[in-house]
């Protein structure tokens, strides 16, 4: 018995040693050397909701692009979607950069030049760069989701979008490539009235690629390091407490020897004060320049808008603050109740799409703006218009209250792992002597961090698409014919507007900005004896037109309502009813007299 047990153990041991162990040892040896295939990950994706499943033009939306970069995105979209896009320049900036426009619509559905249009632009202030990405993202999304999402398909079939990502490409590039103050356009301007232009800009004295702040250790200074966040924050010393530092402003030297530093950098005006409606000169409105549309950028947009009378909605993107702004820019500026109700309804939807964004009236809730873009669109051209101020720090912690300076420092430290802070370095300054230079990267504060950027782009786009969806959508809903006698008929045409925005706003009607909507009728074998607008369709009150009865002019077709037109005709046969509305489009319908 013991011998048998010993033999079993012997065989088991050798079986293990000879049969089991070697292959196992071989596999153990290969584990360290195995790797997955380095394919393109894009070929192995599962879509999240939001972005399209297929991405013909892949774009990383967690970073920013300069003017050439945005242009490249638009060019690739245009190449990949020739049936949905047209790409052209609407003019050039002061320094000769093209202002690109991507026109997005289903080109084979309807007449692209006559569909109700939405104009969207961004980045009129050169440092408000994420505006460019929002507009480019809008084009990217619409192109990719056409044919995939019913709503997008309907939008591009029925409407046309004019997307202009940056209308201040000079300012954008200047800011991205090293400048600090780039709100303005870059036409040389004498800010300090000394006869020289742009002679004293900031400098990157310590060559770290950023223009930051200068401070000097000074016992008489009233600032000191924050006790908990000495690397990131400074605080004011208490009134009876000594300080440590005096703050000297932005990095730079006195280039023109006039006793001031950085007082006359490139540019020195505000393109968003250069628009024609309620324009006021510089001493009343800083930055307005010498007369409206004096600058090539604003003039290019104005000329484009004047040449596209089908524009029925407008959206501009700025930063920052988390706002959905509407006209008027100054107290007492034009705004009618009817138009404001429509704007408020759309803005309220926006507040839900964009958490922490508030619907505001510019002059009342923000500050007075003379000669702003919104006012020209609305008061000057009768087009409902919004300006969104992108990004609010409430997004950092998703709180209804703004985070404190300490909260923000924590964010930099623990979520960004210090990215955004620039350590203070010593420097020997020609005027101030021994100073320190440092502070924040310019990406901190008004533009989102990478992982919050794409959310900002998508939500703002969604708001604009809602506004676009609310543009007039006209249908000839019925043509009723009543026979009055042999060869004498009364025809009632109903034209409905299935969306919120009227074909002509109250401002438009009051000032005859666009031509009236025209309902006309044509038949080979008949003659129109009289025509009129139906004022009350139940009591059959009709206001007859005085002349040219074959065409009835309507002031407007209000939102979510229908206009009725009565035509009294004599004759026979078939006829065509045409509705021609500058912002509602052109539609026709055929019918026959009984």
């Amino acid at each position: 018995m013991n011998q048998q047990m010993g033999l079993k153990k012997f065989i088991t041991l050798w079986f293990f040693l000879l049969v089991i162990l070697p292959p196992a040892r071989i596999s153990l040896a290969q584990v360290g050397e195995r790797k997955p295939k380095a394919d393109d990950p894009a070929e192995h994706t599962f879509p999240a909701l939001g972005a399209s499943a297929e991405q013909k033009v892949p774009v990383a939306w967690n970073r920013y692009y300069d003017h050439a970069g945005l242009g490249a995105i638009l060019a690739r979209l245009n190449e990949a979607f020739p049936d949905l896009t047209k790409l052209y320049s609407i003019g050039k900036s002061s320094q000769g950069r093209d202002i690109w426009c991507l026109e997005v619509t289903a080109r084979d559905v309807g007449d692209p030049n006559r569909k109700p249009a939405m104009y969207i632009d961004g980045n009129i202030h050169g440092d408000e760069i994420q505006a460019g990405e929002v507009v480019a993202y809008t084009g990217w999304y619409l192109c990719h989701q056409y044919g995939c999402l019913e709503k997008v398909t309907a939008l591009l079939d029925d409407r046309v979008f004019y997307l202009v990502p940056t209308i201040n490409p000079d300012g954008r590039d200047f800011w991205i490539h090293g400048g600090q103050f780039a709100r303005s356009g870059l036409q040389p301007t004498d800010n300090d009235r000394d006869g020289l232009m742009d002679e004293d800009d900031c400098e990157d004295l310590n060559g770290d690629g950023f223009i930051t702040m200068m401070r000097k250790k000074d016992p008489q200074g009233r600032f000191k390091l924050h006790p908990d966040y000495p690397k990131y924050l400074m605080v004011r010393a208490k009134p009876d407490e000594p300080g440590q530092y005096v703050l000297l402003g932005w990095e730079g030297i006195d280039n023109d020897g006039d006793g001031r530093i950085n007082e006359d950098g490139p540019g020195g005006y505000d393109l968003n004060r250069n628009w024609a409606y309620d324009w006021q000169p510089n001493y009343i409105q800083y930055g307005a320049k010498d007369y409206p549309f004096s600058q090539p950028e604003t003039r290019a947009v104005a000329e484009f808008v004047l040449a596209h009378p089908n524009i029925a909605a407008s959206q501009s993107y700025h930063n920052s603050g988390g706002m959905i702004l509407r006209s008027p820019g100054r107290e007492g500026g034009p705004m009618t109740d009817q138009d404001e109700n429509v704007l408020k309804t759309i803005a309220e939807r926006g507040e839900k799409i964009l958490p922490f964004y508030r619907s505001m009236i510019t002059w009342k809730d923000l500050y007075t703006v003379w000669g702003g873009e919104d006012d020209w669109f609305y008061a000057g051209r009768g087009v409902l218009s919004f300006t969104n101020e992108l990004w609010t720090p409430k997004n950092l912690y998703k709180t209804a209250d703004r985070p404190s300076d300490e909260n923000e420092a924590e964010f930099v430290q623990y979520v960004l792992l210090g990215d955004g802070a620039i350590a203070w370095q010593e420097y020997d300054h020609p005027t101030y002597g021994k100073i320190e230079i440092g502070g924040e990267k310019k990406q901190w504060g008004r533009i989102p961090p990478s992982f919050l950027l794409e959310e900002e782009l998508h939500r703002n786009m969604a708001f604009a698409l809602y506004h676009a969806d609310m543009m007039p959508l006209l249908r000839i809903s019925s043509i009723e014919v009543e026979k009055l006698a042999d060869s004498l008929f009364k025809i009632w045409v109903a034209v409905e507007n299935q969306r919120l925005i009227p074909t002509r706003t109250a401002q438009d009607v009051a000032h005859h900005i666009s031509p009236p909507d025209v309902v006309s009728i044509m038949g080979d074998e008949f003659e129109v004896l009289s025509a009129g607008r139906v004022i009350d369709r139940f009591f059959k009150k009709v206001q007859a037109v005085k002349r040219r009865p074959h065409r009835v002019e309507l002031d407007t077709i209000a939102g979510m309502s229908a206009a009725h037109v009565q035509l009294v005709v004599k004759g026979k046969g078939g006829f065509t009813v045409t509705v021609d509305s500058a912002k509602g489009g052109v539609l026709t319908k055929n019918a026959t007299l009984p």
């Binding site: 009235r193 006793g259 000169p281 001493y283 009343i284 000057g380 900005i513 031509p515």
Partner: protein, 597 residues
């Protein structure tokens, strides 16, 4: 027979007056005329085109001044603009006369030579060549718009309803239609005139009063959307009227107005602007703005509002200029001024802070006033006190009870009387015609010839031009002008000096008007020293001066400098409107003041 002689005389007069229309320049003739003047002295007179109108006509700019362009741009300058509405060809003629006068006087008169060596004169004889050309068109048609097609009546159609020459006399005048829908009656004093029916007097309207033409677009308005255009004198940003039919789609929308705006921006040395057109602030001194209210407490809105009227501190200069103007014209008293929204002259004052004078070069009202003035002079010379006294007195009493309409009617009669005496051909007798829009109704075509209210009869052009030339020359002499009165350097010891510089303004106007300060468009006068900033123990290399009043107002700057190894320091005084001056501070170790070189 009688009728035929009358007709013959009438046609002769028409022919004569048409021939004399050559005294007014066609655009091409204007160009040639300017070129030929410039050719006579290209160092003094420079001509170039600054814009092209929609009708493809050039807008000329003439610069009069000696020396290189860079120097001319630093001198005090005056800008004269005429033909801004385009229908006042007399304005363009006046500018040409003035340029010729300046040129003539340049060599012969010392004062003029000095003026053109130290001043730059910019002249735009005609900003609106499209409108002016209609004076020579067939039919002759007066309007103050350029040829840019504009939908004036906002009906979606462009230029669809212009005038027609229904009576084929080569003129677009007016028509009167006997129609119960009309608001007018024939003036009982003279049935050539129409006056508005006054319901309070029981007057019943019987006539419609329309421009000559048919209602092409059947909207029951006549000729409301003719060819063109934009009125340049409504196209500027101050007090701009958005949506007005002739103001353009927005401010400074036309090639011509944009060229003028850019010119003015690029030539900040312009201190005085004179504009000939329909607006006028010289016949009567304008009102001052009420004293500015305290800025509102709301920091956000900044409290700054557009200036409604001339600043009180600037008004005296307008008053003086107005006085000079009326004197040059021979007017004994003030008349009514004219202002319009969006004028160029208003923009130059209210937004750019320059002294901006506007004059209507001639009008029937001025003509009537001048002839009345000379009549009262004659009467008083004849010693006819009883005849001259009473009617004046009773007229003054009834003036107060007259309505604006009655005053207007009276003025209309006076003007017709003046034309009857001085230029009878100006009124086209009413002629009956058949009118397709008014079948079976009595329709007559007539009224004053086009351009007859904005341009004097040809025989008077020379005399009127001479008066304006006289005034313009006086205006050019009112520019501010800085000079250096005194330079002193006192040695305090060890190469430390106390320096004192006095700058004076020998011109009439201050170095900046109050509005120039308010708008911040007129930069402060500054002194720039050729010495490094470190050498200043008190003061600095670049110092701004306060405004210096004219008629030898003075501003003084003091420095304390440390200047070893320097014998003299050069400095420059730069003023935007008052020119430039240079000097040298002599550093001598003994204390003595030096007069400027």
């Amino acid at each position: 027979m009688q009728l035929k002689i009358e007709m013959a005389v009438y046609l002769l007069l028409v022919a004569v007056s048409t021939a004399n229309a050559l005294d007014y320049y066609r655009n091409k003739s204007l160009g040639r005329r300017l070129a030929s003047i410039a050719k006579q002295d290209p160092n003094l007179i420079h001509v170039k085109s600054i814009a092209q109108s929609p009708g493809k006509r050039k807008v000329w700019l003439v610069e009069v001044g000696q020396g290189a362009e860079a120097d001319r741009k630093t001198r005090p300058a005056m800008l004269l603009v005429a033909g801004i509405e385009g229908n006042d060809l007399i304005g363009s003629s006046v500018t040409v006369s003035w340029i010729e006068h300046l040129f003539d006087q340049y060599e012969s008169d010392n004062a003029s030579t000095k003026l053109l060596q130290t001043t730059t004169i910019y002249v735009i004889p005609r900003l609106n060549p499209d409108a002016a050309e209609r004076f020579f068109a067939q039919p002759k048609f007066e309007m103050s718009l350029n040829s840019n097609p504009v939908d004036n009546d906002h009906d979606g159609l462009v230029d669809e309803d212009g005038p027609e020459d229904l009576n084929r006399d080569g003129l677009i005048t007016w028509m009167r239609v006997e129609d119960r829908e009309g608001d007018y009656i024939l003036d009982p004093a003279d049935d050539r005139l129409l006056v508005k029916a006054d319901a309070l007097k029981g007057e019943i309207g019987r006539w419609r009063y329309l421009t000559e033409g048919i209602d092409n677009d059947h909207d029951e308005q006549w000729n409301e959307d003719g060819p063109g255009g934009v009125n340049f004198n409504r196209n500027f940003p101050y007090n701009y009227e958005f949506f007005a039919p002739d103001a353009g789609l927005h401010q400074v929308s036309e090639a011509e107005t944009r060229a003028l705006a850019e010119f003015v921006i690029e030539h900040p040395n312009i201190g005085i602007v004179v504009t000939y057109g329909a607006a006028d602030n010289l016949l009567k001194t304008p009102e001052a703005a009420p004293s500015a209210p305290a800025p509102s407490g709301d920091g956000r809105s900044r409290g700054r509002k557009p200036t409604p009227a001339i600043d009180q501190n600037d008004l005296p200069y307008y008053r003086v200029m107005g006085g000079k103007y009326r004197e040059a014209m021979g007017l004994k008293k003030e008349m009514e001024g004219v202002s319009q929204p969006g004028t160029f002259s208003d923009w130059m004052y209210f937004h750019r802070g320059r002294l901006s004078l506007a004059a209507c070069p001639w009008s029937p009202a001025i003509a009537v006033e001048l002839s009345q003035a000379s009549q009262t002079e004659e009467k008083s010379e004849e010693g006819d006190s009883s005849g001259g006294g009473k009617p004046e007195h009773s007229k003054n009493l009834s003036d107060k009870s007259k309505t604006d309409q009655e005053k207007h009617n009276e003025q209309q009669r006076k003007e017709l009387k003046w034309f009857d005496e001085h230029a009878p051909e100006a009124f086209v007798r009413w002629q009956p015609i058949e009118h397709p829009d008014f079948p079976g109704q009595r329709v007559e075509v007539g009224w004053y010839r086009p351009f007859s209210h904005t341009n004097p009869p040809a025989a008077m052009v020379e005399d009127i031009a001479a008066k304006h030339v006289d005034f313009l020359t006086k205006v050019a002499q009112q520019l501010p002008r800085i000079g250096i009165r005194k330079v002193e350097a006192k040695h305090l010891g060890e190469n430390v000096y106390e320096v004192k510089i006095q700058v004076e303004n020998t011109g009439f106007l201050p170095t900046s008007l109050a509005q120039g300060q308010t708008t911040r468009e007129v930069y402060p006068t500054r002194i720039v020293m050729e010495l490094d900033n470190e050498r200043f123990l008190s003061g600095s290399r670049i110092m701004n001066l306060p405004t210096i009043q004219g008629s030898c107002g003075m501003a003084e700057v003091r420095y304390v400098i440390y200047a070893p190894n320097r014998a003299g320091i050069h400095f420059k005084v730069v003023s935007m409107l008052a020119g430039q001056a240079e000097g040298t501070i002599e550093l001598v170790k003994d204390t003595a003041s030096r007069e400027p070189k």
